[in-house]
Subunit: 302 residues, 2 copies
DNA sequence: GCGATGCCATTGGAAAAACCGATCAGTTAC
DNA sequence: GTAACTGATCGGTTTTTCCAATGGCATCGC
């Protein structure tokens, strides 16, 4: 014996309330009269209350019946809304996407991408969390974040990565620095110079070292900075040289700064790879690919 | 293939959302894991959306899943409330009762009954409609009223009647009128006198005539009044005699009136019967009997 | 009167579903 | 490697749902 009302029963009840006729109500519910009758009976059993007053002549609602019908209609329309919304929400990139981005990317990609993103996917709510790769990866695996925008490779178990583009490292040096004389800049030219990098934990640091095929020990690490924006004035003041991501320069990190020159490396491969990362099992895989494609097409300066 | 979410499915979903573990959720729902798994799958099918993100390690809610869980919890608690309220409402006389009363009863019974009624059944909401018997009967059959307080007999198809008490007719005459001299008043003494009664449609009129075993033709009908309260001053002014229900006198319809005397009949049966009437099939039959018992015990002047 | 009609309730059997136990496939832990 | 867990899947059984037919009751039309 069931002890909870069924949605079907509530539908039956509402149908009867509308026509005050079992036969018509049954037709409206696409069942036979006997089925509907049994359903109503069971509902009354469960509620321990008479909802309808039957006579051979007519069907009437009891007081409890009237109230129950009103509540049922609310519940049924709630169910309908739940379903409709869930289905509607399946349009790609129409819900919230919780994205984690590392601080060495955020300020140089969002200003370029966000405005058009909102225009192209008006129903997408991008929730952004900025943190170090390690913390973001943890949040991703906990399900607190949906997708990460990182410098790759960054190994995380059971994740899918999506390559966006390569972001070359550019040498930044105080104007007049000896390296300014080098015509064909190569990474080995950096050896022995005072070099400013971000503090430990920032993957930019590791990627820069790796891209330049350098060990920490081969460099004179002048100072460990906490953000790229604090490195620039230090370079300008002659504290040392640094390696800046091209996207930061394109986005104007040097604008208004004097005494800092830049030079690109002639070698290939002196870059960090920028990509997206998400849980491999995520059912929104295709959405994230779509998001990736969008970033790829809209984040470069061309 | 079902196209609507089931309450069971929503319950399964909420259980999984709570423990984030199919096995534990299944146990909480008293089903096997396979059953729960199938239920969740079907729900996702119906909604056309992934609600949960399964991996071998953990279960996570998707964005749509989170929203669906929230809505489901609301719906489930609504269902619970519907059930609870319907059950609670079954306490006798705890809902609204729509009662119809004729104008020759209302003012003489309600002031006496209502105050204690509300005290004894605080959850009873008595909705009162005053009209002629004929109109009330029609409303009763239409289901617009639940119970009638009438003078009986009043034949209505498919109704149950409940005897409350007999309300004797009392002769009211201008002080000094010849009938004042009669020691043992009998109904036949009325013949030939100018008698004031209510206009047609009021059952009081018919019942008075019937109780006195008189035909209209045997009386000199002085005037047809619209309410008992207008009859009293006419008697006082010597327009004629009248028959007043005892309950009206007990309730003080003559208080403050001079020149009107009353005299009871010595015969038995000179009364109208007061009773309740309701649809025979009404599921609240026992409640109405209870109400009747209450009226019986609390409407007399003793 | 008296059969025809219309109403909801009930019944018995057939169709559908829900459910379970066992197994599978994949990952983690040791 | 193996054992331990995870959720998914597969047959088979049990349960539920559903229908068509029937029943009981009152009314309507003649």
């Amino acid at each position: 014996m069931a002890s909870q009302p069924t949605l079907k029963q509530l539908r039956y009840l509402c149908a009867v309330a509308q026509s005050l006729h079992f036969g018509k109500a049954a037709k409206a519910c696409f069942v036979t009269q006997s089925t509907l009758s049994a359903g109503i009976n069971e509902l009354e059993q469960v509620l321990g209350a008479a909802l309808l007053e039957r006579s051979n002549k007519q069907v009437l609602l009891t007081d409890t019946g009237r109230k129950t019908v009103a509540r049922s209609q609310h519940i049924l329309s709630d169910i309908e809304a739940l379903k409709e919304d869930a289905i509607r929400a399946q349009t790609p990139l129409s819900n919230s996407v919780r994205i984690g981005i590392i601080p060495t990317i955020t300020p140089f990609i969002l200003p370029r991408v966000l405005p058009t993103l909102h225009k192209d996917f008006p129903n997408l709510q991008l929730l952004i969390r900025e943190d170090l790769s390690e913390n973001l990866a943890s949040l991703l695996l906990q399900g607190e974040l949906d997708v990460l925008l990182l410098a790759l490779p960054y190994p995380v178990n059971n994740t899918t990565s999506y390559h966006l583009f390569n972001d070359p490292f550019v040498l930044a040096y105080p104007t007049g620095h000896p390296l300014g004389e080098v015509k064909q800049l190569r990474t080995r030219d950096l050896k022995g110079h005072d070099i400013l990098l971000l503090e430990n934990g920032h993957c930019l640091r590791d990627h820069a070292l790796e891209a330049c095929k350098l060990q920490s020990s081969q460099l004179s690490l002048a100072f460990e900075a906490t953000s790229l924006h604090t490195i620039v004035p230090m370079v300008a003041n002659g504290v040392g040289i640094s390696l800046l991501p091209e996207m930061a320069i394109n986005e104007g990190i040097l604008s208004g700064t004097k005494n800092v020159s830049t030079k690109e490396f002639t070698e290939s491969g002196v870059w960090r790879e920028i990509g997206l990362l998400w849980r491999a099992k995520s059912p929104r895989d295709s959405e994230y690919r779509l998001l990736g494609e969008y970033f790829k097409n809209n984040s470069s300066s061309e």
